[in-house]
Symmetry: C2
Subunit: 160 residues, 2 copies
DNA sequence: ATCAATGAGGATCCGTCGGTAATCTAACGA
DNA sequence: TCGTTAGATTACCGACGGATCCTCATTGAT
């Protein structure tokens, strides 16, 4: 009933557990354990993200999943689009089929503007930005897997 | 995937076909024919609206449905709440279970504000205001059933 | 070559929402 | 009273998102 599906939230949390491109692959199983996302479901989700070019997955020994692009270059919009598509952006707030630019419903212009604001926001927030959210499962995962802390990452970023 | 369900849109269009309190009852069948809303589905919807005190339905000869309150006193929020409930207002934009005031997700504050704006809007728009939407079925219905035009209604309102 | 690790993929289940059809029942008129 | 006209109620169907289980296919290590 809202712009982002639960699955997009899953994708977000899962990708926060992955290493930057070139880093060490992480197991789907492991991510599932820490985040509480169902394993099988996550597996398919990862596959979907791989097809969209957001992650790279390798099977077999020492396989796993890695980000396909730097986390700072992956926006929420990328995730939303990969998983939920873009159809919802065009739908009338009230589902009125006859609502168009010519014959708008009462909320048409208002909703158009709100949608625009939501999109701007989705575009401006990157995976790296998401560090501010204290997701218990994700934080535990990152601590246990030797991720840089947010502060470290910012310092590194300043050096570059 | 959006704040208002399709059914709420149905309710809106259907109620635009009803007379003010005390007016002549309108048949569910008739509303269905004009709006294209499935008859059986509309029947259940009307019953739901009746239980919520938004319309009054009477069975048998010369039965039908009438608004229970003046259209100017029925807000979109009333409809939304009657049909979709209020649960969606509390859900995190990304469905993150751990997203609270203490541990907010990146979009938490932004979404909170957006929700607030949406609610203000839903509260400020009444059924009477919806006249501006040129819904073909509804317009035809109102013309065929001797409703006052929007202009007439406004003139009457000015007299009162 | 073989085996274990690991993602991929198919089949299926569940709950919700939108939708359909048949039947029940209240209200009124003749 | 009886029949017609309405809405009310029940049961059920299909699609979709989320989720589970089980098996397949690929990879790397030995």
């Amino acid at each position: 009933m809202l712009p982002l599906s639960q699955t997009t939230g899953y994708a977000l949390r899962a990708m926060r557990c992955l290493q930057e491109p070139g880093g060490q692959p992480v197991l789907v199983e492991s991510v599932a354990d820490y985040t509480g996302i169902p394993r099988s479901y996550l597996s398919k989700l990862v596959h979907k993200l791989a097809k969209k070019g957001l992650v790279t997955a390798r099977r077999g020994h020492h396989g796993g999943v890695v980000l396909a692009k730097p986390s700072a270059e992956i926006t929420l919009e990328d995730l939303s689009e990969a998983i939920d598509g873009v159809a919802w952006r065009k739908r009338c707030l009230m589902g009125l089929a006859g609502c168009t630019e010519e014959t708008p419903c009462v909320l048409h212009d208002y909703w158009k503007q709100t949608l625009q604001e939501i999109l701007v926001r989705l575009r401006s927030v990157t995976l790296a930005d998401m560090a501010r959210h204290q997701d218990p499962g994700v934080e535990r995962f990152r601590a246990d897997h030797g991720f840089l802390t947010t502060v470290d990452a910012e310092r590194d970023h300043a050096h570059a």
